[in-house]
Symmetry: D2
Subunit: 329 residues, 4 copies
């Protein structure tokens, strides 16, 4: 029998998850909860599902699981609300911008004995999974260094920056999770440098748009993260893992796999420009993994704990960037 | 309102089209017709549609279009049957192995004034479309030479070879259509060499598994096609267009976009191994184009005429391979 | 002790060989013979060698070997002249445009028991040698198909075309040799199509600038050659070998190994634009192989026989292009 | 007239420079000074030059310039010795492991008004120069981030590590120079993490083999350097520059530019394994630049000041790695 879903929030990421649910065997989209009427109607038409309020979803017998795609400041409350009524919860990152609130929400979930998965979609990207497989099958030997390059095609508007929690909590958080996943050890030390080079409006809000971070584990393994809120050539998403026996790298994905050669040289199209097209397969795999874990009563591949750890790394990186000192966790 | 489909034949390619219909906006799968009960049941469950006989489909008011995925020797009869009851017809290539029968079927469709699209899925592959765009927007100047490399991961069983019409009609036929599409002119002369190198069972049936073809238009433009029924490294599907101003090439698609470097060198995964995964997007685009053409009452991008031309080229290539002479159409 | 060389002819290719001799251990450039005084002086200064006439070279005790880089119509005479005085001879391709004259020259060399190597530089290119190694070490299994793409950056002037013997004897001749080398069997059947698409002046001289050739051995192995006198993106030189176990391909060489990504996409520089820069290493390896063969009294890796075979294939291809029939050798 | 050279030291790097001098127009190798007789004889035979002592070289009228390839602890003395006798000096990096001694040597050269070029060969690599050109011609807009990956094929023996000054002064020093060159601004802040992951013998000597460094200029531009004393797949040498308008990257150089595809996937050969083959062209370009600067009486492209700055960055990185604090210069 299929896992019956409600998606909370029909914005961009809510639609991504609704589509993912529709494409995954064993998942069924029953309802969407969205306060803005126009958006709600559009989603209903697109996905052929019902419209319910959040409270109605919580009270629904025909809903097994919710996907939380509402604004960040509602995540923790909703996690707790749905944990308490026994629904399995998939929540977009971050759980909250405040570490204590995150711990509280996780504690509630644990107390209720329900399922919580946090949306770190990149772990489910087929290319990144192939790199992880090269680690897990021993091809690379002992992992020594991880290099993550993540550049957004463009900076978000100031309105978004204001509520984002800053670049480390909003953007680098994905890379912190990737680093933990690929290193296979917890991070002990964080060093970071942060600059404002892309958009002065970001600097005016006290945030950064260009950062580099070095992470280090207790055994001396390291990861380097490079982030920019700018990349003229598309959504730049690369990982590289260097080990005692070899190196594995996931390359970028272009709009089309062609080349055109003229007197100017050889040219390939820019990269896929948006997270939705770049990570289409990852979002579907992610929901499939959630469905699978719920079906088996198993732990989800990304947990509340992973969400917490990534947030702690974000805070440490921010502190290091501000003080010029390595921060020890 | 959506175009309501029945798929005739629930074999491998029938399922590909059923899935494509499910993924395309404006297309709806109503029924499948499949004589083998197990296959029919499996398809019904998978796609959540009704099961009807071919005659029932022909008599159905709630079916606007059929996709013919039955054995080749039934194609022409079914095209005519459904043209006569006013259904739009999408037919897998080839229409028939006999040129005269193909002409007859086309004539029937024309007499009835209905729609017939022939399934040359490669024209709808995003990478090949990007190469075509480089021609159409003038980047390449005048097209001079087209190079098409198509190698199957493995040879089909002898049972299939027997009814396939031979490599030129079964496999190269796709490349003949690509060559016409990319050259933008009709072929005037065909030269071919054909060998049996892969599987002696193929040779025993009088067929070939390794062929090269040179096509030439009246203005001297040329295309070269290389085919093999073998490719240990996956499904090899490349096109290259050389013109007065430049060259464009569509590259192969690997299982994952990663590289692993060890003391042995750098390694990337093999190519996607099967037409269904390699051309997933192409099959969806193809159905979308059919839906669009029917909705607008416009000509379909690939027609019965295209099917006929490709078949004529296949016959000419076979004759050239057998006689050692260029064959003029 | 070093092999002491004289280079006959100080034109473009003569200078290439003089430079190659200077860079090879065990080779020493003693003299250049060049009738045009300015060219002779320039070469003398560049290479710090003596100037002698061809007759002086023939009479020189301190010259062991000559490299013939004079106009094609003098090659056969010079081969015979220097064979008769016991010098080892390296001759640029072709030996002559006339098959009978080639046979005569080879017979003279054999009668004198001296050494003759014909300049098929591509066999000595490191990348092509690496592809050949993949054949020889069994990685590819049985060779089934060879694909050779060779496009010149631009068409030569009409004056050159007039004395060149036509595209098959002048340009494709390299590819005929490569095909024989890579197939490992003699060619039995030749099919060709030839067009005039690049420069009408070439057509006015009865020559072609755009050709495709299919070669076939007695066992059914095939090679395809694609040539054009035009490539806006540089000197396009690719080979691909497909066998029962795999495929090997030598890729093109760009001016620099970089990529630049902007909003327009990813861009790499054009290819090395000229045979001298593209094949620098090949020319040095070629001379080294000649030196080595002479030192050991061994057969040279490319012989007069190879020159003859390539010329016969050129004649067969021309005949096939003119008659539309496969030509059997 | 040619610049007449003596090379001091006929070890590995001395031979690299001797060969470079032989290949550069306008440079002539007169003598080599090498205390070990066997090495001296071998070099004399190889390069066909004289053998002189260092004092004889200093007293020679027929020597215009020296290339210092002796052990590091003699560099500063030799720079001063030859500056005082008016020879142009090319010195391998580093000038000295001690910053004060470096300053002293530079002061002596300035007082004598002679030429000193420090060997940062990578600035003269054709691929890196092409990346620099993309900065200089404005293609990349304002430089924001530089990423440098440098991994050695294997760790040097402990004997070498002992006198090397440590990884930052011995290996990263090249990358510090590259970062300054590519950023186009002086570094203000240095952060580093250093681990011992490759060879415990290195750790036992108090040195590291795996380091990451973040550099930052006063305007907030950043560079990241990743170093390892291990790379199973060859000599890994990459740079990437990200700017407001785009990105440029120099890719690695493989042993051969081919790919081999089998059931295991696509494979390319490992990277060129040694600095001498990887940077052959760079070493020649470097000597040519030195010759050119001396001929014109112009400043050399890399100066004593560049050597000093790179050394200061190495010291700062070491201090940051040891203290966990950003070090400000």
């Amino acid at each position: 029998m299929s896992l019956r879903f409600a998606v909370l929030g029909a914005g961009r990421i809510g639609q991504v998850h609704a589509r993912a649910i529709a494409s995954v065997d064993g998942a069924e989209l029953i309802a969407i909860a969205e306060p803005f009427e126009a958006a709600a109607k559009a989603a209903q038409e697109k996905f052929g599902c019902e419209l319910r309020t959040i409270d109605e979803v919580a009270a629904s017998d025909d809903i097994d699981a919710v996907v939380i795609c509402t604004p960040t400041d509602t995540h923790a409350d909703l996690i707790e609300k749905f944990a308490k009524v026994g629904k399995a919860v998939f929540c977009e990152k971050p759980i909250d911008l405040n570490v204590e609130r995150v711990k509280q929400a996780i504690a509630t979930v644990e107390a209720e004995g329900t399922t919580l998965m946090v949306g770190f979609n990149r772990r489910f990207d087929p290319d990144f999974m192939a790199v992880k497989a090269a680690i897990d099958n021993g091809t690379l030997g002992d992992v020594e260094m991880v290099t993550i390059t993540s550049r957004d095609p463009g900076a978000p508007p100031a309105e978004y920056i204001k509520v984002s929690g800053g670049i480390f909590r909003d953007m680098t958080i994905h890379d912190f999770d990737m680093a933990r996943w690929l290193l296979g050890e917890e991070i002990q030390t964080v060093m970071a440098q942060a600059s404002n080079l892309v958009d002065p409006a970001i600097g005016a809000l006290g945030d950064y748009d260009s950062v580099n971070v070095i992470l280090r584990t207790a055994t001396g393994k390291q990861a380097v993260i490079t982030n920019s809120r700018r990349a003229t050539y598309g959504y730049d998403q690369r990982i590289e893992v260097h080990g005692s026996k070899g190196m594995a790298a996931a390359k970028n994905t272009a709009e089309a796999n062609i080349e055109v050669a003229t007197a100017d040289g050889f040219k390939q199209p820019p990269l896929l420009n948006f997270f939705m097209s770049r990570y289409t397969a990852a979002y579907a795999n992610e929901i499939a993994a959630f469905v699978d874990a719920v079906a088996k009563g198993a732990e989800t591949p990304t947990t509340g704990h992973d969400g917490l750890k990534a947030l702690e790394l974000a805070e440490a990186a921010l502190k290091s960037a501000q003080t010029g000192q390595a921060v020890r966790l």
